[in-house]
Amino acid sequence: MLRINCPFCGSRDHIEFAYGGDGSISYPALDASPEEWTKAVFERENIAGRQSETWQHLYGCRMWLRVERDTVTHEIFSVAPAHPGMGTHEDSQ
């Protein structure tokens, strides 16, 4: 079992979280071409190693998080709010 250190709630079991997806994707504008959208939606790297991911603290604060994780060892290097303007409890300390 993974433990994910939610920046809002603290360290929690991964079963409280839901995996979102590849955190390195930047989605194109809604009116972008189907080719650009195809790239964003379907083309994925299958990384063995360090990977950027999104997770949601589904059964907690419901915040979306950016997680840096090693897909081989499951080591988690960093967890940050996905929303760039979001302050956290830790920031205010």
């Binding site: 993974l2 079991d13 839901a18 979102g20 194109p28 809604l30 379907f42 589904l58 979001m86």
Partner: protein, 991 residues
Amino acid sequence: MTASRLTDGGLIDRQTPLTFRWEGKSLQGFKGDTLASALLANGESIVARSFKYHRPRGVMSAGVEEAGAFGTIGEGGRTDPNVALTTVELHDGLVARGQNAWPNVRWDIGAVLGMFGRFFSAGFYYKTFMGIPPFESGRGTGVWMQYEKLIRRSAGMGTIARLPDPDRYEHGNLHCDVLVVGSGVAGASAAIAAAEAGLDVVLVEQDFSVGGELLSRGDVKGRSKLQSLRKSIEAAGVRVMLRTTAFGLYESGVVGLLEQFPYSSGMLPRQKLWTLRSQHVILATGAIERPLAFGNNDRPGVMSASAGRTYLNRYAVLPGRSVVVATNNGSGYQTAFDLSAAGASVTIIDSRPAGDRELSDIARGRNIDVQAGTAPLNVVGRRRVEAIEIAGRAGNAWAKKSTITANSLLVSGGWSPVVHLQSHRGGRPVWNDQHQCFLPQADVEGITIVGSAAGHWSYAGCEASGLAAGEGVVRKLKGELVRFDLPAASEPKTPVDPLFIIESTHPKKSFVDPINDVTIADVRLANQEGFISVEHLKRYTTLGMGNDQGKTGNVLGLAVMAAARGIDVPNVGTTRFRPPYTSISLGAIAGELTGTHFKPIRRTPMHDWHVSRGAKFIDAGLWHRTWYYPRNNETLADTYVREAGTVRAKVGMCDVTSLGKIAVQGPDSGAFLDRVYTNAMAKLAVGKTRYGIMLRDDGIVMDDGTCWRVSEDEFLVTTTTTNAGKVMTFLEELLQVRWPDLKVHVTSVTDQWAGFSLAGPLSRETLKACLADPDLLNTENCPFMAFLDAKLASGVPCRIARISFSGELAYEVYVPSNFGAHLAEVLSREVDARGGCQYGLEALGTLRIEKGHVTGAELDGRTTLEDAGLAGMASKKKPFIGSALRNRPELLKQDRARLVGIFPKDRKARFNAGSILCSPNKVSGFGAGWITAVTYSPALGHWIGLGYITGGKSEWVGKAAVAADPVRDGLTDVEIVSPHMFDAEGVRMNG
């Protein structure tokens, strides 16, 4: 003469005798006994029959590594088969029996199989019975399936009870700074050191006593050390969990623990599965003594030397009066000394040519015969040890030298550190020639291994490594250092003889893994047939796949393979250990999550009211939704036809509380919903609702629902019951991850509102009668797709929307959840007064199928807007989620399956949901489409359905089609029609 109980000594409580039943006999033991020690004390030498050959088996060990003594514990629903008797704590009234034997383990008819043993080598059954021509020619494995049943019956273990388990199992959560696994001197020292420094320490011990190897020592010094360790553990505030096995190590310091509870009157659960989260784990899991491979090394009376010492010193059971201790290292000697002191006549046969001078001198001083350079070749005696044939070295081989009469043979073939738990986390133990075992490496972060598990073979070494680990972990958790080193394992005082197999030119059956009856001949056969990789060896011979998972047999098997291949043990490889370390019951895994606790249940606030109206319920996700309200002896079919008919004729009310409801608030709400819905929402007028569809990024329909504009910057969005969570999560992702610039907040308000749909031509007058101001519902105030806030006659506030799923004049009425039951009372009074009814999901389904309204059955994650006939819902003026990818060429093909209505050609016929739609001349493969939903339509007077078919209705006008349901009803001729099968113009709804 077999094993017997001594009149004094041991750690058993002679003041507390316990009565138990074994194979129907009433026997006595004492508190502090295991079932195995109590059976030995009662002279029961044959306690099991082997898996394949039905050979008599006795107790081989004193712990979880047991490879012989398996039995069935308990009766009825509490029957627990395949339990190692060495791990069962004796309690009063315990009932146990042998297994895989008939009539009993002492006299087993199946033992006749053993005589044909030479035929039953590895792979025998598969080679012999699979694919025998001519019986099986062209018949696949059919005949094998028949043989298999017979073979499985004669080969095997215990039988499970096909009864519900009456016991309770629980799950629990634990947190600590440091977890120490194993309470021997190493583990205890580490735990004490860490706890004394103020850390929160949990110490788990699989045994029912703290002490580890100290429990097996009979000397005064050992006993006093045991006492002082126990006192220090308590004084330091270590949290001790007995009967608790750390069965698995996982990421982030998470450890799975299984706690067994002592037998009690039923107040406690039987087992508890703990999830423990720790900062650091110290493994003091000890080492397991290995057997040697020699002829008939599985006879009752052959056990490990350390087990012999444990039975003597801990349980006061003398394994035999005349004992041979066979060893290839120094550790067997102490057993011999203790046995000799207890009055047994002992012979030590030490395979090392030079023996061990220091220990031999002590032995001779105690009148113990030591024969260096000798080893056991064969055990004489069919049902128990009667004599041992001793071999001497003859060059590289062994030759029989003498025969010693004895009734117990205690074997030490070296020690294997218990490295399993570290292996769960990817640790790779490395073979050490000097120690003749796999030693763990300090290669996994957050795990420290101490004591004999790390190759420390002396008491002082174990204590020192434990202390160093305890002190090191304190400094690490304080942040004073990143890693700490432990004292290296010291060399064994005298070398371990790399001896695994003793055989002469006429080898007898010699077991590597007694649990699965794997012999050295089987391992050699595997080599001969090319199964030389350790993973192939395991699967071909089943070596290490028994209950003990190869705790004793694995290294021996590797050694046999290494010898057969002429390579070194480490070059054969080792399999990786996976959780669980010892078996855990399915009951413990399930815990309390059984029956109605399997998943949470969501009930609407009107649930009890529905029950009082005789409602039947159906699951929709976690929700219990009303299904139908039978009257008198009505069937489901009778009921829904009546309910749907009543709605069309008069009025009906249906609980719609479970629909997802999301409050979308903020100045950018309109812009946000414009991006999310395929149709325009930003310009929706305040007080209006609109049907809306959301797509996924890939252009496929995700969900549909309604969108209500509450104010300039607030909307209420409804979703289907089953997709509520998915939609909510998606909206949150969009706002937090993709479009953080939008000033919008979403809140789930599903639980805040309770609501009914009120549908039917009389719905307006019915609802009017419930309101404080009935005029609010006049068409000019509340036209189709409008909503407004009102008050019930009782003053309870409500929100009313004129929207329709049934195709009738209809309203949805919501009140704050607390008033849900009140709303039900108020509405039902007026509904009943007008001859209306309550209706459930089944009738709702009928009404929507008649109208061709789609639900999850149609929007199944593969459908586009065009497929579902909803292309008009896609705005051409603005982009939205999915607008780019819905135009992928494949999704725009005209021959995609499109939503259609389906009538039976013969209007009296019926057909089934799930049928495949085909051309009558091509009933094969995937057909041309499928049926998603069917119902009897009271409005049309015959069966109807919805489904998808290639090209849609226009392709099938005038063409014949069949609904193929080959398993159930065969073929039904059908007619493909518009999905809008009833009131296609919507006159009733808009009226």
